[in-house]
């Protein structure tokens, strides 16, 4: 039976705030399909966000939902997961939210390896506040605070996550919803901290300022800027230079935080 999205949406909160052409809705649907596929009970799912366009997601979803302060979603999510490890905790954040103001929480949540899935809606811009440059704005790309083009190098969300110790790291593009579904399901199945760098075009602010054209034009760009990690071996170095791999980029077995903590509790009991 095909899934009914309205089973998971708060219908009365529609219409959503996202602009026509925005990729965020595609990511939300992918998250919902993943939750549906995994048959998670709605009562057991918590969706946490910070501030920004992406962070409006929880309000539309019929789960336990929490819209926190800018950059701090992972800190709140950590408290929820640690206090009640039975809950499935999903965090949604933008590139500014997770890489700039929330950067410290990002790297330490990766290090702790709590069983939380983070989906970064990465549109390389601060959309909610009107198109300012973000930590993932490409060098040379414009934002309202980078009118001559960004002079700084951006963060690579996946490289950051890998370096900081996330046990599952993937990149997915909104233009390929099937691949995104696979990646998000795998991220949620991973017993540990999972990061999905989900690309989503912002036509209103990034697209217009950088003359990248319509949503579909922007998606074409994304396609040109990326390659499938599975094909990486077959590609010559020059074919990959300056491009971003897409797919599951990193997965390792590491003890999950709550499991480690439970072992500690048990060992203290044994000592008594």
């Amino acid at each position: 039976m095909p899934m009914d999205y309205f089973e998971y949406l708060r219908k009365d909160k529609m219409p959503h705030i996202w602009c026509p052409g925005c990729g965020h809705g595609t990511i939300v649907k992918s998250i919902l399909r993943a939750i549906d596929k995994l048959q998670w009970k709605k009562d057991d799912v918590v969706v946490v966000s910070g501030i920004g366009c992406s962070s409006r997601t929880p309000g539309y979803l019929d789960f336990n939902t929490l819209h926190t302060t800018h950059g701090r979603a992972l800190a709140f999510a950590t408290g929820i997961k640690v206090a009640n490890p039975k809950l499935h905790v999903v965090v949604v954040a933008g590139d500014g939210d997770s890489m700039a103001i929330g950067g410290n929480h990002f790297i330490h949540t990766c290090r702790r390896n709590l069983d939380i899935t983070l989906v970064v809606y990465n549109n390389n811009i601060y959309g909610m506040t009107g198109g300012q440059a973000s930590p993932t704005t490409f060098k040379g790309s414009r934002g309202t605070t980078a009118p001559y083009g960004a002079i700084e190098d951006p963060f690579d969300v996946c490289e950051m996550a890998k370096a900081a110790g996330a046990s599952f790291v993937a990149r997915a593009l909104d233009l390929d919803a099937v691949a995104m579904d696979r990646v998000i399901v795998a991220a949620m199945e991973n017993k540990g901290f999972s990061v999905v760098d989900a690309w989503s075009q912002c036509t209103t602010y990034f697209g217009r300022q950088n003359k990248w054209g319509s949503a579909s034009d922007m998606m074409d760009r994304y396609k040109e800027m990326t390659y499938n990690v599975k094909a990486a071996d077959k590609l010559a170095p020059e074919q990959k230079a300056g491009k971003f791999p897409v797919g599951v980029l990193h997965q390792v077995q590491r003890t999950e935080w709550c499991e480690q903590y439970d072992k500690l509790i048990d060992s203290l009991k044994a000592r008594d």
Partner: protein, 380 residues
């Protein structure tokens, strides 16, 4: 060893606070090391896992308060402990806790400021930061103990107030109270009064409004995972918890946050009066400074000056009626504090300009000596 002897302990304030938290039912601590509060994190990192509670060292103070708010939403009584610089970092999320009405306890062991200031010296310089630190109009409950026994019971009070009012509550100690040691008899659990947040009964199909005020203006609170799915935000929201831009609803919501404390303040206010009934000179002091003040009052009486002490244990909500009554015969009021005049502004507001008001202030990392307060009382 007799039962009594077993329960008598010689504790520091930070230890008494930790034990009080455990007795109050604290089962989650998220914190970041900072002098002079670190012993609380250290103590609880050893004790919480032994009773199945959770301890997590966070990456900074912003994360610490985020984590305890998250844990509270998941149903755990939670706490963090910090000092001035950490308190500054926590202010935004403290406001989130007040706005979203999430109970939790923040311990602030006051050290000298501003900035890094005097990490290991005593101070009472956070008194206004605790009242007005986070932006916007907001409800504040702050308990300020002056003895080890009061730290223990004050911590339990903080948890009780947080659960009763659905709001973050601060235990404000100064470094002296946190680090001095005194004898305390630890009560049996059944001797304690412990409050728990009101939870909605689970009835499928029935609507739950997470911000529908009860008769005491406090809404009942469901745990995440309890079976009632709802939304929490720091945006202005209506009774359903969802954002609103409706001017009437916003006005009502913002006012209710303050009104819920105002209406219940008699349940939250504690104070001590010492020789105030005939006092010509009233000293208003809190925390460890009140101990010096008490000695100064006795010394002044020996010299024939009718002095008295009013000691707010609850700094906020302000014990205004009691303070007014205590000062009713006073010709002069003296407010000693280890800052450059913070709570004196509150006292001035309560007592008006009809009384001669002066401060005794010290910000050099030393406690205020009784002799200094005595000089102010006898007018030397």
């Amino acid at each position: 060893m007799s039962e009594h002897a077993k329960r008598v302990r010689f504790l520091s304030g930070n230890e008494a606070c930790s034990l009080g938290a455990l007795a109050a039912g604290c089962r989650f601590f998220g914190g970041y090391p900072i002098s002079p509060s670190s012993e609380i994190a250290e103590f609880l990192s050893g004790h919480l896992p032994k009773i199945g509670g959770k301890f997590i060292q966070m990456e900074d103070e912003i994360a610490s308060i985020g984590a305890i708010l998250g844990a509270s939403l998941a149903g755990a009584k939670s706490m963090t402990a910090t000092s001035g610089p950490g308190l500054s970092l926590m202010q935004e999320n403290l406001g989130f806790g007040m706005m979203a009405e999430i109970p939790c306890v923040v311990v602030d062991v006051m050290r000298g400021g501003p900035s890094t200031g005097n990490p290991t010296g005593p101070s009472q310089s956070d008194v206004m930061a605790l009242r007005w630190g986070t932006h916007g109009d907001h409800p504040v409950v702050v308990v300020c103990p002056a003895s080890i026994k009061e730290v223990y019971y004050g911590t339990i009070d903080c948890f009780n107030y947080a659960e009763m009012m659905r709001t973050p509550v601060v235990l404000a100690m100064d470094e002296i109270t946190a680090h001095m040691r005194e004898k305390i008899e630890i009560p049996a659990p059944e001797e304690l009064h412990i409050e728990y947040r009101k939870k909605p009964a689970f009835k499928p199909g029935e609507s739950y409004f997470p911000y529908q005020p009860g008769p005491d203006l406090v809404p009942v609170m469901a745990d995440y995972g309890q079976g009632i799915r709802y939304h929490v935000t720091g945006l202005n929201h209506d009774k359903t918890g969802f954002p609103t831009g409706n001017p009437e609803v916003m006005e009502e919501g913002n006012r209710r946050l303050l009104e819920k404390i105002e209406r219940n303040k008699e349940k939250l206010i504690k104070y001590e009066e010492y020789k105030t009934s005939d006092a010509d000179v009233l000293v208003v002091a809190y925390g460890s400074t009140a101990r010096s003040a008490k000695r100064a009052v006795d010394d002044a009486r020996e010299r024939g000056v009718k002095a008295g002490l009013f000691r707010p244990v609850t700094l906020y909500p302000i014990p205004d009626k009691a303070l007014e009554a205590a000062a009713s015969k006073a010709k002069r009021v003296i407010v000693p504090e280890m800052n450059l005049g913070q709570y004196i502004m509150i006292v001035e507001r309560v007592l008006g300009h009809n009384v001669k008001l002066s401060g005794v202030n010290l910000v050099n990392g030393e406690p205020i000596q009784p002799s200094k307060i005595l000089s102010a009382i006898v007018g030397e």
